[in-house]
């Protein structure tokens, strides 16, 4: 936030000086537009939260009510007590945390190897990683399903986790970060007798934990929010993740909007928290990976 202000303010000042009223009007218009767009984005979220706090009867009453008349947590209590939501939550936590840790570790290792080590096939490997990054996950999902079914890992945590460990973007971000480290650091560490593991874990990664935190957060958010693969891999209700499970809630409750939306709000909660707590890091992560995509 502060950085946005810091850069916008001088820009606005100079433009006011050079072109007077017109630009400041333009700036106001753009600000207004941004607010409108933000409101449009925010409204469904707001509506979901409000609705989740209403009684069932109120949710179906005609007319637009922006605040619940008698706020209640019944919807929440219901999904927590009468559905498998706690189990789905556990499943999501387990799979997302493991995916985050393993994929960040593997990507750091892979990125390090491609960036810093000389070995035959390095260029080919790099090209393959770049290429795999171009292929959307949905194009591979059938293959994943056949393979995971073949090794009898459907309806297991491992089955959900394995295909989601393929995260070329994190490898690419790490490789570029390691590329940008001046070679003297590596050389100093070589003279200091560091082996490759020490080089990675005691020099390169700690040099900028920001990169790792940022990547861990977006990996976690991505894993938590993922739907398509967990939906296919976990057909057993006890193995579902939250995102998959709440669609089940929707199906089995009929028209009970408060419950459905209470489930949705709970499902989105960790991600919302992650965004709020690590706002800066998330922005950084998006810039890091956008720099690659763009």
């Amino acid at each position: 936030m502060s950085t946005v202000n810091a850069t916008a303010a001088p820009a606005a000042r100079t433009s006011v000086r050079s072109r007077g009223q017109t630009t400041s009007l333009g700036t106001k218009l753009i600000t207004a537009l941004t607010v409108v767009v933000a409101a449009i984005w925010f409204f469904p979220l707001y509506w979901a939260i409000v609705t989740s706090l209403k009684t069932d009867e109120e949710t179906v009453r005609a007319g637009l009510r922006l605040l619940p008349e008698e706020p209640t947590l019944k919807g929440y209590l219901f999904v927590i007590q009468n559905s498998d939501l706690p189990i789905w939550y556990m499943n999501s936590v387990i799979t997302s945390v493991i995916i985050t840790i393993v994929s960040v570790l593997m990507s750091a290792g892979a990125g390090y190897a491609i960036s810093q080590l000389k070995f035959p096939g390095r260029q080919i490997l790099w090209t393959l990683i770049l290429a795999s990054f171009m292929v959307p996950v949905s194009a591979l999902i059938v293959n994943h399903f056949i393979i995971i079914a073949g090794v009898k890992l459907l309806n297991t945590h491992l089955g959900i986790i394995l295909p989601m460990l393929i995260t070329p973007v994190t490898v690419i971000v790490y490789k570029q970060f390691f590329d940008s480290v001046p070679r003297e650091y590596r050389e100093a560490a070589v003279i200091d007798n560091a082996n490759e593991f020490q080089m990675l874990f005691r020099i390169f990664l700690p040099m900028n934990w920001g990169v790792t935190t940022a990547l861990a957060i977006i990996t976690f958010i991505g894993a938590w929010n993922s739907f398509l693969w967990p939906f296919l891999a976990a057909q057993n209700e006890k193995m579902m993740t939250v995102t998959v499970g709440i669609t089940a809630v929707q199906d089995s409750y009929g028209v009970a909007f408060a419950r459905v939306l209470a489930g949705a709000v709970l499902a989105g909660l960790p991600v919302a928290l992650a965004y709020l707590l690590f706002q800066k890091r998330v922005t950084q992560a998006i810039t890091l990976s956008a720099g690659i995509k763009g």
Partner: protein, 360 residues
């Protein structure tokens, strides 16, 4: 402490040769400086000794071990980089301890060595800071500290002073000299600054364009340059070069005639000179004095007052220019007609291949 021997060492990047058949022996405990213009290969040579670059040909020995195939850590040398390369996430103490931890040095031994290095370099109060919280000079001392704790057989420095401002550079230069006196370890120091080279070195290696031009003590390099390149590179302002004709006098010394017809007696034996008689005459500005009864006449184009001396860019009768010197407090001014006296005993001659000839 150990000597470093290079035998016919060569290096190429792809097809581009950057070091050609270099041979030298750096004596144990000596302070050697590699001096040369940018791109001449001094860093490459230093990095080859450190093991950070492979060599294509030749041998490198440190002490009684051949090291050219050994990894850097096993060569027993420590290196200080131009940008220091301090690990940014570690404190001063951790920076110095890292290398020792990697070879599983006992904790109390690490502690002892770090404290002792910190004391030598007066880093005690900074020991828990990070590099970003240090000034350039302090960072530089930490980099040296990181080298000292390893108790290396030789120190390698790649332009360690070039990131410091002028005043600090002079002070740190003196600290380097003191450090060497105290540690008495072999040191190799790369720079393109001739003052650093002249003040610090036991031996200077002047390099140019992949090759060694000359190895010698600072005064040898200054008074008896082996080539025109060395003569021009060392000394400020640079040596004067004038085309001349040379003949032998009765004593077998070269008698040279400048472009304006004036004759200078030198102390250079003609026996060694190649035939032909045309040479480039070299004389440092401090040996061209402004004298009322001097034999060479000219006009002062530019006068530079440096305080301790005055330099005059003098145009001679034939249009060539020489830099001459006068006392600090001088009445000399631009446009003055003046006479110059040349100290022929300190002159040099250079042949067509830029090989230098000096007084015996």
């Amino acid at each position: 402490m150990a000597d470093i021997r290079l035998v016919d060492v060569s290096k190429a990047y792809g097809n581009v040769r950057v070091i050609d058949n270099v041979t030298m022996t750096i004596g144990s405990g000596e302070f050697w400086v590699f001096l040369g213009p940018s791109g001449c290969g001094k860093s490459t040579l230093l990095r080859m000794i450190a093991g950070l670059e492979d060599i294509n040909d030749g041998e490198i020995h440190i002490g009684d071990r051949r090291v050219d195939q050994l990894p850097p850590a096993e060569r027993g040398v420590a290196m200080v980089f131009q940008n220091y390369a301090l690990y940014p996430h570690m404190t001063v103490r951790q920076n110095m301890a890292f290398g020792l931890q990697n070879i599983r040095t006992p904790k109390d031994e690490i502690e002892r060595r770090v404290d002792s290095a910190a004391k030598i370099l007066e880093l005690g109060h900074l020991i828990d800071r990070r590099p970003s919280q240090l000034s350039g000079g302090q960072r530089q001392r930490v980099a040296i500290g990181r080298a000292i704790v390893r108790d290396p057989k030789a120190f390698l420095f790649d332009e360690p002073l070039s990131n410091l401002d002028a005043g600090l550079r002079v002070r740190t230069r003196i600290e380097f000299a003191q450090l060497h006196q105290r540690m008495k370890t072999t040191m190799v120091f790369v720079t393109h600054d001739q003052t650093e080279a002249m003040t610090l070195a036991d031996k200077i290696v002047v390099m140019n364009n992949r090759k060694i031009e000359q190895i010698g003590s600072p005064m040898e390099i200054y008074t008896r340059p082996a080539s025109r390149f060395v003569a021009a590179f060392v000394g400020s302002p640079s040596m004067n070069f004038l085309p001349v004709k040379a003949v032998a006098d009765k004593a077998g010394k070269a008698l040279v005639t400048l472009g304006d017809g004036s004759v200078v007696e030198t102390a250079i034996p003609t026996a060694n000179l190649p035939k032909g008689g045309t040479f480039t005459f070299g004389i440092r500005p401090e040996f061209v004095r402004i004298e009322a009864n001097g034999a060479i006449k000219g006009k002062a184009d530019v006068v530079e007052r440096l305080g301790d001396r005055t330099l005059a860019y003098v145009r001679l009768g034939d249009g060539s220019t020489v830099i001459a010197s006068d006392t600090g407090i001088s009445s000399l001014d631009t446009g003055h007609e003046i006479a110059l006296g040349v100290d022929g005993a300190s002159a040099h001659l250079f042949d067509d291949n830029n090989v230098a000839y000096s007084a015996a």
